[in-house]
């Protein structure tokens, strides 16, 4: 059976997205969008003791965008904030078994959503102090 442009991993995460949904009362939320492509990605984090104990996402976007969101939540769960911040878009794409060149930006979007969510968390922390 011939493959489409997406790896099996991408299709797996597209068909069975992990951690899809919302977190009530999240520690941080990040929403980013790419107007050129129309993708919008929202990432929810639950953080305790500097550790991401839960992550969920909602994404409006193509197969690569959904898979990148799903994979990102998987990659960051259980990680410390610093470890999570070190996760690059390349790492997301790699974990997905690669993305077509025209779709690399979807993994960038995921990285940006993560950063925005952590930003939001830090802001909330400071406000809370």
């Amino acid at each position: 059976m011939a493959q489409g442009p997406y790896s099996e991993k991408v299709m797996d995460h597209f068909m069975h997205p992990r951690n899809m949904g919302e977190i009530e009362d999240p520690s941080g939320v990040g929403e980013v969008g790419n107007p050129a492509c129309g993708d919008v990605m929202r990432l929810y984090l639950k953080i305790e003791n500097d550790t991401i104990i839960d992550a969920k996402f909602k994404t409006f976007g193509c197969g690569a965008a959904i898979a990148s969101s799903s994979m990102t939540t998987e990659l960051i769960k259980g990680k410390s904030i610093d470890e999570a911040l070190a996760i690059s878009n390349e790492a997301v794409a790699e974990a997905l078994g690669g993305l077509p060149p025209a779709k690399q930006h979807c993994s960038v979007l995921a990285e940006e959503a993560l950063q925005a969510a952590l930003e939001d968390y830090k802001k909330k922390q400071q406000e809370g102090k």
Binding site: M11, P17, C62, P101
Partner: protein, 404 residues
Amino acid sequence: MWYYICLMKRIYFDHASTTPVDPRVLEAMRPYFSELFGNPSSVLIEEGAEPRKALDEARLKVGRLLNAEADEIIFTASATESNNLAIKGLALANRNRGNRILFSDIEHYSVMNQADFLKSLGFEVDYVRVDPYGLVDMEDLERKAKPGTLLVSVMMANLEIGTIEPIREIGLLLKSRGILLHSDGAGACGQIPVDVRDLPVDSMTVSAHQFYGPKGAAALYLKKGVPLRPVMQGGYQEMGYRAGTENVPAIVGLGEASRIAAEEMALRVENLTALGRRLWGGIEKEIDYLHFTGHPTRRLPGHVSFWIEFVEGESLLLWLNLNGIASVSGSACASNVLAADETGLKASHVLTAVGVPPEICHGSIAFSLGPENTEAEVDFTLSTLPEIVGKLREMSPLYRKTLL
């Protein structure tokens, strides 16, 4: 992960992209590969005679489909080539008529993307607007078809939104002003009646693989007496308009597909219209926040296109595919996933032209049905679509059930 779908019979609703070769067409082509393989230009040897005769017959058949004379039919290798030959060829051969060329806003890339080349040759290119149904805006055309205009290109039917253009009306206006009209009939010729004696067009593109003929064969109807300059030079084939050894089997296939289309068109149109209505009606009933694109009635039979709020097109396309249904999306992301980079990812110019806001036109899907499709397939699609839409909306951060 993709392979489980192999077990199901696929539902092919993407006839606008391409169609399978009709077995009768393949049968007609078969002898010309390895037996009657001669070069039709080798008329002085036995081997060239049958292929030459086959070309002549194919020309008659394509002519009959369009109500044209055989010697008004030029064979090419693709609709893209026909469009390039027509537009560049008419422009270069008729410079005395003017310098201005008009394209409708919803032409196919094989017309649209010629603009830069034409400009580099010194022509001026302008665009004619369409209304929200995709019909050429006649007032805008009247305004823009001003003196100095030499050529206008408006397609017979748009395969993304299904709308059939008022070519007759357009042609009459242009004729009264001495302006040439090319019409890209790929996906229309062979599907709906097209009569070049009735339509005031100077040239018309025909594409075999969009009506059960083979890929690699297309034609350009060129009205007798209209000057055309060839854009590909070489040997003296196709009355001097198109050089290169003729692709005999493919041309024979185009001829046979034309014969079949002419004979079976009335029945096909009737059946496809009914199937299309069933699909349209069902979708309308099942899905909210849905917008049909194109004209509700002046459209290709069996063509249903729409976009859905809060649902991205590629994801919808992929899920339909996983459920065994082949369709096409005008979504930016879906349109060029193989491009070298993301600069190709623009929202469809057709959808933007009919007024779909670029940031929400990513949900566009077109179903284009063919004569082998059944009511059961339509009903299966209708039973599947709401579930997929629900799943994708569930995932969308933009969607709030409470808002609806």
